[in-house]
């Protein structure tokens, strides 16, 4: 349910678990622990469909409906001023990036430590229509402020910048008087895609992460505000990452709703709780631009599931595909400065060298190009294919070189 190595289960079928109890251990640096979001009994550990469409080992817990908390959870005041203790706690609490990609937060802090002079706190929603960041900031401003201080301390950075989109004026007016001196507020125009790390760093600080590089390369680290809040909660009460805000919306629902979900809840339950009668024909986990559409609603919500979109049939527009008319809209709008019209042609022609020369691998897969294409070409969709081809080509070349070396 996150990027990196799968974690190792600590429970067996039949184990009684409490809410917040650790049920799986992180394996290696880029991995995260898992905790039970409910109290109940483990009923199965088996491969289960996830939002990405593949099967992953999942721990199925039958809730007893009581939500008895794990008694061992306690505040961790020792982490207030000790970076190492904080990183260990963040790791133990299973905290990952909650804006979408789900990179384990402890690993991120480690990569930024000593390199980052500025830490960015990302309150700019990653996708249109999602308000999870916004609402979590409103509801948990003390934790947000506390968490920002903690992360600055852990990264060893001097300055913090809280980035919020300008249409979230409530959050701006609530937070701006509360911010300490070393954290500045940066109000950004509302735009997509700026919740992405590279765009956010560029828009807020004017720094450009080099191609293939990390935010730490330009002295930055980026944390989503919900992640920040989770860090503060872990310190204040020992609560691991077991729930999150999720925007449930879409044309198939009577009323959109922002809900707090237990991580691991099947999407179907979440939808039913918002609108018991809904009959969606297309359901997207994540946002409408980059989320994945589900073919089975029993998949669990994940740590990065910030939105669920349930669309009625009429939203799934079947539109005729035309040919590229070279209108230039895609190139005009690409946040990375790529030329999708040419890339599309090169993918079709299988021109791998050209794909490299035109920097296909810098593509964010944000979907802006395909969104605006009047010919409705599957631009970024084909780029995924192109990237896979490049990866395969790279692997083949490495294997060849290896073989040659051995032959010599």
């Amino acid at each position: 349910m996150h990027i990196g190595a799968p974690s190792r289960p600590l429970v067996e079928v039949g184990t009684q678990v409490k809410r917040g109890e650790k049920i799986a251990e992180a394996q290696g640096g880029i991995s995260a622990c898992l905790h039970s979001p409910v109290s109940g009994t483990v009923s199965a550990i088996e491969p289960h469909l996830t939002a990405s469409g593949s099967r992953t080992d999942c721990i199925v817990i039958d809730s007893d409906g009581l939500n008895t908390p794990d008694p061992s959870l306690r505040p961790h005041p020792e982490c207030e001023h000790d970076p190492d203790a904080l990183i260990a706690l963040v790791r133990e609490a299973g905290i990952t990036g909650m804006g979408g990609a789900g990179f384990p937060t402890a690993a991120k802090i480690l990569s930024a430590r000593g390199k980052a002079d500025t830490v960015l706190f990302n309150g700019a929603e990653c996708e249109p229509g999602i308000v999870s960041d916004f609402c979590s900031m409103l509801d948990n401003s003390p934790q947000l402020l506390h968490g920002m201080e903690l992360l600055l301390m852990a990264c060893g950075a001097e300055k913090g910048v809280l980035a919020i989109e300008e249409n979230k004026s409530e959050a701006i007016s609530l937070l701006s008087p509360l911010l300490p001196e070393r954290i500045t507020l940066r109000v950004l125009p509302t735009a997509y895609p700026q919740g992405g790390e590279k765009q956010l760093i560029y828009r807020s600080l004017g720094r450009e992460v080099p191609s293939g590089g990390l935010p730490a390369d330009v002295g930055c680290a980026v944390f989503n505000v919900e992640t920040v809040i989770a860090v503060a909660e872990a310190v204040e009460s020992g609560k691991p990452l077991i729930e999150r805000y999720c925007t449930v919306t879409g044309t198939a629902l009577q009323k959109p709703k922002l809900v707090k979900i237990a991580i691991g809840t099947p999407v179907e339950h979440i939808l039913r709780s918002v609108d018991p009668l809904c009959e969606p024909r297309k359901v997207i986990a994540g946002g409408v631009m980059m989320g994945s559409s589900l073919f089975d609603l029993s998949v669990p919500a994940e740590k990065g599931t910030n939105g669920i979109f349930a669309m009625a049939l009429d939203d799934t527009r079947f539109r005729e595909q035309s040919v590229c008319i070279r209108c230039g809209r895609c190139a005009e709008n690409c946040p990375m400065g790529l030329m999708p019209n040419y890339l599309y042609m090169f993918v079709k022609k299988n021109a791998l060298d050209k794909l490299r020369a035109y920097h296909l691998n810098d593509c964010l897969d944000c979907g802006v190009c395909a969104y605006g294409c009047p010919a409705r070409l599957p631009l970024n969709q084909s780029f995924r294919l192109g990237k896979a081809k490049l990866r395969a080509d790279d692997a083949a070349r490495r294997a060849r070189e290896q073989a040659e070396k051995e032959a010599r």
Binding site: V288, S293, S322, A375
Partner: protein, 317 residues
Amino acid sequence: MEEKKLYVSSGPHIRGKESVSSLMLSVLLALLPALLAGVYLFGLRALWVVLVSVGSCELFEWGWCALTHRQNTLRDLSAAVTGLLLGLSLSPTVPLWLPPVGAFFAIVVVKQLYGGLGKNFLNPALAGRCFLFAWAPLMSSWVAPRCADAVSAATPLAVMKTLSLPPESLLSSFLGFKGGCIGEVSAAALLLGAAFLLLRGVIRLRIPLSYLLTVAVLTFLFPRGNERILWMSHQLLSGGLLLGAFFMATDYVTSPTTARGQLLYGVFCGVLTVLIRYFGSYPEGVSFSILIMNLLVWTLDRLHMRRVFGHGKEART
């Protein structure tokens, strides 16, 4: 919801409203004022010329698709746009068998033989028109007392030779009371349509503006005669310049897709237009300039790619 199937696709799960046909429809609408002005000025005969041109373009497009067993592409409206542009850039007095000849060249030779919409590297309407130009004997048959192409397009040429300004006032030239091709004469109508396209976001100002500015600057700097401003204004208003700059040079397929490429494209079009108008033997500078620049579009694109994010030497602050 268990029994019902779910639709699955990969993101983005929403799409913009614009489509190829909606864009083409906008261009058709934007050319309507010019057509109406032409019909008003030259009578119903002009309407016939345009209708025959549009009809024959549609027919050739349909015929080609039928012949090659391809999906009928009439609905994308691109053939209609080609037909309308071709018709508007003809003299109202041409024999009615002429537009179909141009239409055949435009649709079949220039567009479809190169693979259809999006693949042609010359603007079909312009190529069709120039094809008709190139068959020199037809040229003379276009000349008519009030509205010969020679009056509008050749007047600058004549003026250049005699160093005098055209007889019309600037205002009547702006409104369209002068000789010329059906859709070229009324600058007012063309600008109205162009404004619509710009506001609708169908075209951008880069190409037309750099094109017109270049022509303006060059004709201002090198006037024939003493009245710089008047000379420049007549140059801007006469011939196919406005139709070309706003409706032909901006053709998506045959113009660059990069911002800087587009600016340069406009500038070069302007330089070529003035050169041909001053020194060429043809009266028409605009069509040939744009066609010549069409050939350089891919080069311009390649030379003027945007800097890819994260590949700069220095991050901007």
